[in-house]
């Protein structure tokens, strides 16, 4: 007998069940093990052309990560947080969205941004250091890459909620959109992650949260990050559906994310998807991953590389041969060449842009400061010209 068992202890009254409905948590719970399709009977019924398409895109994605990393070594990118090993998550996140949908990426999600159609140079502008964002968020329906962790998640909720509001009041302008927010395992510890999920649940907003659990928040392992049964289980506390998927299984990723997006689109509420994956590279080019993880661990995950898993499956299923592999590799080299070409002499940023967009119209103070900088730059240019002329005269 417990003290709250009021059937046997009539003197004790249990809490009244008047503070809103209680929901059955069972349908919200994720599977105990991550959803897998590769190596299961479900792979046989998976659309063959889609499988080949996924493979080609993953090869391109891997090449993008390699090329961007190379650009950091050449000093053409200030920093690049690679998603090597997470390509199945990145690629499918872009693939499952329609044109009308919105993507809310974090700083490690450049590949998803490119996969949604942004030119690599523009997607990497933040990392080049030329501007804080290089693409028009409205053209591609992609929010700027968010560096403060999980802070973009409530934006996804607000935008999805706003679309529902507009659809209700102005049916002619209705857009049946879904917002997809990308978060990492570390980001799930942030308050904004919690608040976003709570708001999404309460508002019933058409949002999907994709947590790419790559095992580490820079150096801190998941065990030091959360005591939850899984990150997907966190959904239950907000009354939204949690789904756990193998993030290195491209077919499972596509399947689970597609279902989650359509769940949200159909008005059945938000979904939290946890993709279990691994960051094969360091946090960024400035990080030394050997300080916090073993070579054996990395090797074990290399054996589960999403690209080799998919390639092995496709070859075994007779859906891919050497010629197909070579064709994909060739397309990847074309992409790498395009990226290199885009990074050849991109225009320098305009110092005047420092002041132009702080406000819709610059304040008088900003106009003064812009004029001051412009005058200084003019004087510097004049001085440089004079110095060059002097040097020339001396040489004569």
């Amino acid at each position: 007998m417990t003290v709250l068992d009021d059937s046997t202890a009539p003197g004790l009254v249990g809490p009244p069940h008047s503070h809103g409905p209680r929901r059955d948590p069972a349908p919200l719970l994720p599977d105990p093990e991550p959803v897998r399709i590769l190596g299961t009977p479900a792979a046989k019924t998976f659309d063959a052309e889609l499988q080949r398409d996924l493979y080609r895109r993953l090869v391109l994605g891997r090449r993008f990560n390699q090329q961007a990393t190379t650009l950091t070594r050449q000093g053409r990118l200030a920093v690049y947080p690679a998603s090597t090993g997470q390509e199945a998550c990145q690629i499918t996140a872009a693939m499952v969205l329609r044109e009308v949908d919105w993507l809310f990426p974090s700083y490690r999600d450049t590949l998803a941004v490119v996969a949604r159609g942004v030119r690599p140079l523009d997607a990497l502008t933040l990392m080049r250091g030329h501007a804080h964002s290089g693409y028009d968020p409205y053209e591609h329906r992609i929010a700027p890459l968010s560096t403060p962790l999980a802070t973009q998640a409530p934006h996804a909720v607000g935008l999805a909620h706003a679309a529902r509001l507009r659809a209700a009041t102005d049916p002619a302008a209705a857009e049946d959109l879904v917002a997809l927010a990308l978060v990492g395992d570390g980001g799930t510890s942030e308050g904004d992650f919690h608040e976003a999920l709570n708001f999404a649940g309460v508002l019933g907003a058409p949002v999907v949260f994709l947590v790419q659990n790559n095992g580490y928040a820079i150096s801190v392992p998941l065990a030091s990050q959360s005591a939850a049964p899984s990150l997907a289980h966190k959904a239950v506390g907000y009354g939204i559906a949690g789904r756990l998927v193998d993030g290195n299984d491209a077919l499972a990723m596509h399947s689970v994310l597609s279902a989650a997006v359509e769940h949200a689109r159909s008005g059945r509420g938000p979904v939290l998807v946890e993709a279990v994956t691994y960051r094969l590279d360091a946090h960024t080019n400035a990080d030394d991953a050997t300080r916090y993880r073993s070579a054996a661990e990395v090797d074990a995950w290399r054996a589960r590389d999403p690209l080799t898993l998919l390639e092995g499956h496709l070859r075994a299923a007779g859906l891919l041969d050497d010629a197909g592999v070579a064709a994909a590799a060739k397309a990847a080299e074309v992409l790498a060449g395009e990226i290199r070409a885009q990074f050849d002499n991109p225009p320098d940023p305009d110092p005047d842009s420092l002041f132009t967009h702080v406000y819709a119209r610059p304040t008088s103070q900003l106009r003064e400061q812009a004029a001051e900088l412009a005058a200084r730059l003019d004087a510097d240019a004049d001085a440089a010209l004079a110095a060059a002329t002097d040097a020339e005269d001396e040489a004569r």
């Binding site: 964002s133 409205y138 935008l159 508002l203």
Partner: protein, 328 residues
């Protein structure tokens, strides 16, 4: 007709909701209850729960949601219940609200109004009386506006909601129940004050008091009392801390050659320090004395039984005026 500041703010929200379908109010207790100060009273009943939304109790979530709504073209008006309760939203304010236009090269502006009841003098217990304006004013990308009169609370809130830039709208809760002869219905669009212009509330020839928000009535009272001392004090109501109206402020200081800045917030690294510096840089040769400040002490906001010592008073203002080097 006699109108309180709360009623004028309520009218501004109501008129904005009525005229622009993209305006949405959201916050804690703003719907059914009408807000803890009743500023949103009746809005949910008139415009529906979706236009005046009771949210979960989470300020970062409220503002973060508003950011997403603004991205989609709505004009959210967020209520932070009290000054010190707005701090959980600070990261959203600083990292997203203030920066979104800039970081997207002007492509994505966020027309969000963040209403914050602020300041003390109402007997509030801890965390209910902060003057948080310096945090916001120090963040480029925000406009920071604070009305001190009933008419301005209507007009400036209309302007804030209509602005394409984010506005932190600081409402002096000490003046919420102040009343004036004002009828929102008689305000034409042309009369709505623009953001960024200070106003000379009282002309004067001896010295200039520079103030805003809850300290304006104190300064006007001090100016009245100063007449007995033979001082004719000008009083400038800044109304907008960002953008700052250097033109009006400097003209008013040059006209008298003496200035005292008055605000409730702690003085160290406060808005008054910026004003004193700007005035000194721009009006040095017109000044007969250093620019002085009368501010709250550099202490956490005191418990209500002691707040009278902390708040700038008529006596403290007159003492400062007396120190403006009159014997020369």
């Amino acid at each position: 007709m006699s109108t309180t500041m709360v009623a004028a703010l309520n009218a501004a929200l109501r008129d904005s909701l009525r005229e622009d379908a993209s305006v949405h109010v959201l916050g804690e207790d703003v719907g059914t209850l009408g807000g803890v100060f009743r500023v949103t009273d009746g809005l949910a009943a008139e415009f529906g729960a979706q236009r005046c939304l009771d949210t979960p109790l989470a300020e970062a979530g409220i503002l973060g949601t508003a950011v997403g709504m603004a991205m989609y073209g709505l004009r959210p008006v967020v209520e932070m219940q009290f000054d010190a309760f707005a701090y959980p939203a600070f990261e959203q304010v600083v990292s997203h609200v203030a920066k979104m236009r800039n970081r997207t090269g002007g492509r994505m502006g966020l027309p969000i109004t963040i209403r914050v009841p602020y300041g003390g003098g109402v007997g509030g217990v801890e965390h209910h009386s902060d003057s948080s304006e310096a945090y916001y004013a120090h963040t480029p990308g925000l406009h920071v506006v604070t009305p001190a009169t009933v008419a301005d609370s209507y007009g400036l809130l209309r302007s804030a909601i209509a602005s394409d830039d984010p506005v932190v709208f600081l409402e002096p809760k000490r003046l919420y129940w102040s009343a004036a002869d004002f009828s929102p219905a008689e305000v034409s669009t042309a009369q709505v004050p623009p953001i960024g212009r200070a106003m000379v509330r009282r002309p004067g020839t001896s010295a200039t008091l520079l103030t805003y928000g809850p300290s304006l009535p104190v300064c006007l009272e001090a100016a009245q009392a100063a007449r007995a001392e033979g001082w004719d004090l000008a009083v400038v109501d800044l109304r907008s801390l960002v953008p700052f109206d250097d033109e009006t402020v400097c003209a008013a200081v040059r006209a008298t050659g003496r200035a005292v800045v008055v605000h409730e917030a702690a003085g160290f690294a406060g808005v008054g320090a910026e004003i004193a510096a700007r005035v000194t840089e721009r009006c040095f040769h017109h000044l007969a004395a250093p620019v002085l400040r009368v501010t709250g002490y550099d202490i956490p906001y005191p418990p209500p039984m002691l707040e009278k010592h902390h708040l700038p008073s008529v006596d403290r203002i007159l003492d400062a005026v007396a120190r403006l080097q009159w014997e020369q």
